[in-house]
Subunit: 342 residues, 2 copies
């Protein structure tokens, strides 16, 4: 299916680390799930008792935000292949929020989940290299950690100087190849992957992404071509590349077309659930054998306690929401003739 | 010049806070400078003694990075209207780096400098709102701060939960209006501004930004049109909007064309110095009266000690580099008939 760079040709560097496309494929098959839980906390999405504690000051914020995010991770860990925390929501809580981001990534990794850092980075080459270091290197425990530190300080010291660990990141293509290559160079050789924003799920994505080009196609289709090129020599045994694409479930008519344009790219499909995308729409993102895509839901999972009217059982509500999502996606894939393995 | 939304019409909300376009214009005239110093620290750009200390562990990292960044701020504070720290370089140093980012922003604000946070954000509406909170709200000192905390911990507590303070941010337009509006809504009413990435300074910016559209123009020109629309009702007494654009000095032929397309937009012009853009090229970004643009240099200033061979006097070298840049820009603007006020 893939031509050059097919199974076995990569990674070349000696270390037999799996390709991210393979890792994602294996994780989905292990869990029998193609769902990803987006962890995007706000005070409004948290159950009242936690939100109240979070608003009480920095220590309350740190402890409540930790409890909520780690609680969601533990509630869904056996049900999905990956979680996708969006760094923006943690940055909104400042440095305590970023500490929670680290502890969330570590906890998810310890649970065997892939961690997709939704950071949407895109900057000039020298800056991209700086971001790549901060976001792709593995946090290091400090050997000289003094005993007795607690809470926020302890976590910062435990996780060292960097954000993550991340198995994959989202990247913005507006600045072109030299903004992306430093990430690929640093991460792909050790099993990390990337999802390039091709066609996003938000209403105004049309303003630039849908513009028609002189000579045919759209801006988003050209971004798809770039992303495919970037991933061409990074295709694993599963036939999936380490370089994938973000294509929103809110554009069902286009999902199949992007799948044709990017046959080897894993798709990260946002927009399911709160944003209005359906499982039937998302099914178009998958390859004929039902591989090659994961579907993200954020708000519909982490605030499922609201729909159920059970703020006391927000963990259970999140779990039930993911189980329902798994059933919904499996059924839609079967209906599309793609889901017999789910 | 501006039609609707001209001088006096904005801000409407009662509080008489200046428009960011006016604030930038006034700061440039006060300092008689259109230069901005980009603060993008890496170990390789730091003088050896500081780099060594930074590599010695988290406490050394925090103290050396602080000393370097705050030293640059103090060295150039009376020479330029603004500094532009790029958050990526601080994120690369993890949480200690982000603490330094905060202390740098605070120190610059205390010196009367405008702080342009080069964060290049772009995400869907709900996420943009989260970023806007984290990046635009003013860090709050904690009233209950315990005495005796030092270094990293003290700064975190002093600055509260958020990153900044920022007078302006850079934004990526690939996701369109709904990714930008939450920032504008939160910031413009209190004098904050935005620079939308229109045409970036890096070589591969051509891959998407220069694509020609069916019906004429390029993707970057369409981004320019969007940015102008976003800023149309946010034009201050100076005739400059709170919403500006990033247009690289590495594309001299295009600078004048973007200036025509965006007559009311302040331009942030990267690419001068280490990236190869000249002052003569940058002059095309300015309006006929020499207003409306600031030119950024990062590496050529903060590592000027290398060019001078004086690692012991890195502050003085940075200062001399900025003085030379000011002379260079003033001379280029005068040569273009725009710089009599400089």
């Amino acid at each position: 299916m893939s031509g050059e760079g097919a199974a076995g040709a990569w990674p070349a560097g000696g270390k037999n680390l799996a390709n991210f496309g393979d890792r994602l494929d294996r994780a989905a098959r292990d869990k029998k799930s193609v769902a990803v839980v987006g962890i995007d906390p706000t005070l409004a999405l948290m159950p009242p008792a936690l939100a109240e504690r979070a608003a009480s000051g920095p220590d309350g914020l740190y402890s409540a935000l930790s409890d909520f995010c780690l609680g969601i991770v533990l509630a869904v860990a056996d049900l999905v292949p990956a979680v996708k925390p969006n760094l923006a929501f943690f940055e909104a809580f400042g440095l305590p929020g970023l500490s929670v981001y680290q502890s969330l990534c570590l906890a998810a990794a310890n649970q065997g989940l892939l961690v997709i850092g939704d950071v949407k980075r895109g900057d000039i080459g020298s800056t991209a290299a700086a971001y790549a270091a901060g976001l792709l290197d593995r946090p290091r425990p400090e050997p000289d950690r003094p005993p007795g530190l607690g809470g926020r300080e302890r976590l910062q010291r435990d996780t060292g100087a960097l954000l993550g660990p991340h198995d994959a990141l989202t990247l913005n293509p507006y600045l072109g190849s030299d903004s992306v290559q430093p990430f690929l160079e640093r991460g792909c050789g050790r099993g990390q992957g990337f999802f390039v924003l091709v066609k996003t799920s938000n209403p105004s994505s049309a303003e630039l992404q849908d513009l028609r080009l002189d000579g045919g196609g759209t801006v988003a289709e050209r971004a798809a071509g770039l992303a495919r090129d970037w991933g061409r020599d990074k295709i694993g045994a599963s036939g999936l590349s380490a370089v994938g694409a973000v294509v929103g479930a809110t554009h069902p008519a286009e999902l199949g077309r992007f799948r044709e344009l990017m046959p080897d790219s894993p798709f990260l499909v946002p927009g399911y659930g709160a944003q209005g995308g359906s499982a039937a729409a998302a099914a178009g993102a998958f390859r004929a054998d039902g591989s090659g895509a994961v579907v993200n839901a954020s708000r519909s999972v982490i605030q499922a306690w609201k729909r159920e009217g059970r703020p006391d059982d927000w963990r259970g509500a999140a779990r039930r929401a993911v189980q329902a999502m798994n059933r919904d996606l499996a059924s839609a894939l079967r209906a599309a003739g793609k889901g017999d393995w789910l």
